[in-house]
């Protein structure tokens, strides 16, 4: 009894009369008197005392009490779990109760832990997005978690106890069989497999292991499956765009940059070497934002930075052409376009864009402009001579000219005037092209008188086509301070089109609205109009609508291009509205006072 590992206590129903060593240990007693002679109620958890009293009553009348679990209170007050059994004994004629007990606190704690972790596992398996399953030796499903049920798209009842070929399409069943076979050969599988679950192709990352018995026979399979269809798509897209970017940067003739506004760092890429002669490494290690600024030609720097700041402020597109220094100190013309990107607060934090060498293009453009300018001047000299000679000839002939001779002279004069006008238009175009702005010669004049003057010049043409022209003015005074000659050209260019493209007997309406700051002029005809497909090109140079070229070969297609440039220089706008065969309405506005 002394050596038993179980605690043994004898009591008379009220007090302890004996306790072995193990009992002393379990109860945490250091001296006999801490246990012996102490009422047994002291060692029983108060909650259990009622039951214990009942048991003792039974034991007293000679009944064995079965093994049970109870909570004891140690001498130091700590509560322990014990398994306990009691039975009546008679020692030296005294009837006592013998209680045998064992401390099962640790055992209980670990059982609780197992229970907890089982619970946890169950929770995880039920809530996890990954499908978890188990199969028996017969390849029938024995377990599926809710994610697996969802992935398979079948009720759990149908899955448990079924084989893959019972519930999946032949294609999917074949794939599953292939993986299971590997497991049954003792291998683990960690692969991405494609199944056509419910008709949708899914990429499934499958980790599947065999379950062995202690003789190393495979008795089942357990697996975890994750649907990676979306992430695979993203991965593929990323790979594609990376690849594309790599090819583009290798093939492009542009410089590509990525500028971090906060640090000032620039990541350079693309045709750095062929355009700037600098190595990519040099640019990336040496040329940050300040370095870039220093490479801009000093004469262009201020304007470029101004435009850049403006774009940054609005967090929008930036575009400019400027001279940029290359490795040898030679400046090239670059065309620079970029885009500022906003952070989540809408503030620009990054800029991406390209720069390309347009020196050659600029040189060709310049040559072209210079050629047109030179040719036009050279043409003007003989044209002026002809003009002056006609006047001289008319004067010399005086009254001796026959009507026919006078007519012919007039025709020569008209042709000469047309050629002069054409050459002047070409000169204007070459100037607009070269970026030289018009210098406006401001004078004060009455816009209504000016229009009437234009109409006078067209009097013979108007009556020849039997056109009706209605002219109206509304609003404030039509007096304005602008470039009279140039605005006259705008009116002439628009009005001459209306006359040209009106049918015989047609109507032309000119309506002017004079506001306090602006004048709005509308010229409306009911002629052949402009086909819809040509609308975008109306204000481009050398534009002539298809229906116009069919009916009339005269005209250079420069009139509206020049008109737009003049209106723009006056701070106004020009637009139109037209339907083929129904006519056209041209509008333009301009400032009554010099536009700064």
């Amino acid at each position: 009894m002394e050596l038993s590992p179980d605690g043994i206590v004898l009591h008379d129903g009220r007090k302890t009369v004996f306790a072995n060593k193990a009992a002393m240990n379990i109860l945490g007693a250091k001296a006999q008197n801490q246990v012996i002679g102490v009422p047994i109620s002291k060692f029983v958890h108060p909650k259990h005392w009622g039951k214990v009293k009942e048991r003792i009553k039974k034991e007293k009348v000679g009944k064995d009490a079965p093994l049970r679990e109870e909570k004891f209170v140690r001498v130091d007050g700590r509560i322990i779990d014990v398994s306990v059994a009691g039975r009546p004994v008679a020692i030296d004629g005294v009837s006592l109760i013998q209680v045998v007990f064992r401390d099962i606190s640790e055992q209980k704690a670990s059982a609780n832990k197992i229970k907890e972790s089982e619970e946890k596992l169950r929770t995880i398996s039920e809530n996890i997005g990954d499908a978890i399953f188990a199969k028996g030796k017969d390849r029938c499903f024995t377990f599926v978690n809710p994610a697996a049920v969802q992935m398979m798209g079948l009720p759990q009842k149908k899955i448990i106890g079924s084989r893959a070929e019972d519930v999946f399409s032949p294609h999917d069943a074949a794939v599953i069989k292939y993986v299971d076979d590997k497991n049954f050969q003792g291998h683990q599988v960690n692969e991405i497999k494609t199944l056509k679950l419910g008709g949708n192709k899914r990429n499934l990352h499958t980790v599947q292991s065999p379950i062995f018995d202690n003789k190393h026979n495979v008795i089942g399979i357990t697996g975890v499956v994750r649907d990676v269809t979306e992430s695979k798509k993203i991965e593929e897209a990323l790979m594609n765009s990376e690849e594309r970017y790599r090819i583009i940067t290798a093939q492009t003739k542009h410089l590509i940059y990525d500028y971090d506004i906060n640090t000032g760092k620039i990541k350079w890429d693309g045709a750095v070497n062929s355009v700037l002669k600098h190595s990519l490494n040099y640019m990336n290690s040496q040329i940050d934002f300040d370095g870039w600024v220093k490479m801009i030609h000093p004469d262009d720097r201020k304007e470029t930075i101004r435009l850049l700041n403006e774009a940054q402020k609005k967090c929008c597109n930036f575009y400019d052409q400027y001279r940029f220094k290359t490795k040898g100190g030679v400046y090239i013309y670059v065309e620079h376009s970029g885009l500022f990107l906003p952070d989540k607060d809408g503030r620009p934090y990054r800029m991406l864009g390209t720069m390309s060498d347009i020196s050659e293009r600029r040189a060709i453009d310049k040559m072209k402009s210079e050629f047109v300018s030179m040719a036009s001047h050279q043409l003007l000299t003989p044209l002026s001579d002809i003009k002056w000679l006609i006047t001289e000839l008319t004067g010399l002939a005086g009254d001796h000219c026959s009507t026919e001779q006078t007519n012919k002279l007039n025709q020569i004069r008209k042709s000469n005037t047309k050629m002069v006008e054409l050459v002047k238009d070409l000169l204007s175009v070459s100037r607009i092209e070269s970026g030289t702005n018009f210098i406006l010669e401001y004078s004060t004049f009455n816009f209504s008188s000016m229009i009437k003057e234009v109409l006078k010049q067209y009097k013979s043409l108007i009556s020849a086509k039997n056109l009706k022209v209605r002219l109206s003015f509304k609003g404030e005074s039509c007096r304005c301070e602008a470039d009279q000659k140039k605005l006259e050209q705008v009116v002439t260019n628009i009005f001459s089109n209306s006359v040209k493209f009106s049918k015989k007997g047609g109507q032309i309406n000119i309506d002017c609205e004079c506001g306090i700051k602006k004048i709005h002029c509308k010229v409306q005809d009911f002629g052949m109009g402009i086909p819809k497909k040509d609308h975008k090109k109306v204000f481009t140079k050398f534009f002539r609508a298809d229906n116009a070229t069919m009916s009339d070969t005269e005209g250079t297609g420069l009139g509206l291009y020049i008109a737009k440039a003049i209106v723009d220089a006056h701070g106004g706008s020009i637009w139109f509205d037209s339907q083929e065969n129904k006519g056209a309405q041209f509008h333009f506005t301009f400032n009554k006072k010099p536009f700064k």
């Binding site: 001047h377 003007l380 002026s384 001579d385 000679l389 006047t391 001289e392 210098i439 010669e441």
Partner: protein, 126 residues
């Protein structure tokens, strides 16, 4: 002293224009002297001290603007009115000509001979 005919100097390398203008001006009783390049034109103006100069711009040897500058820089001839008659019709040429002191700027392809004669008559108070 009886006033002789007023003298007009034409500096113009285009003989057609020069001749047409000369004929017309002579009909108006002006005495006309013609020079065919910038250098000789300036020399002629200094020699003759005309009442008015009609000056082309694109001239051999010396550009019309240089001739005009030289005239305006020389006090003995700086008061002579100069009309520019040219094929250079650009805004900035016109602006520059007037800034340098030309009294008028006419484009050969735009102006009528008669209109030019009217202008000259007006300037010379005829």
């Amino acid at each position: 002293m009886i006033d002789g005919p007023k003298i007009i100097t034409i500096v113009e390398d285009d003989t057609i224009i020069a001749n047409v203008l000369k004929n017309k001006l002579e009909k108006e009783n002006y005495e006309v002297k013609v020079a065919k390049n910038g250098e000789s034109g300036l020399k002629l103006v200094k020699e003759v001290v005309p009442n008015l100069v009609v000056l082309d711009l694109i001239l051999p040897r010396m550009h019309g603007f240089e001739v005009l500058k030289a005239i305006k820089a020389d006090p003995t001839i700086s008061k002579i009115p100069v009309i520019i008659l040219t094929n250079l019709g650009q805004d900035e040429d016109r602006q520059k000509g007037l800034e340098l002191g030309a009294i008028d700027y006419c484009s050969k392809s735009d102006i009528d001979v008669a209109t030019l004669i009217d202008k000259i008559n007006e300037i010379l108070g005829k």
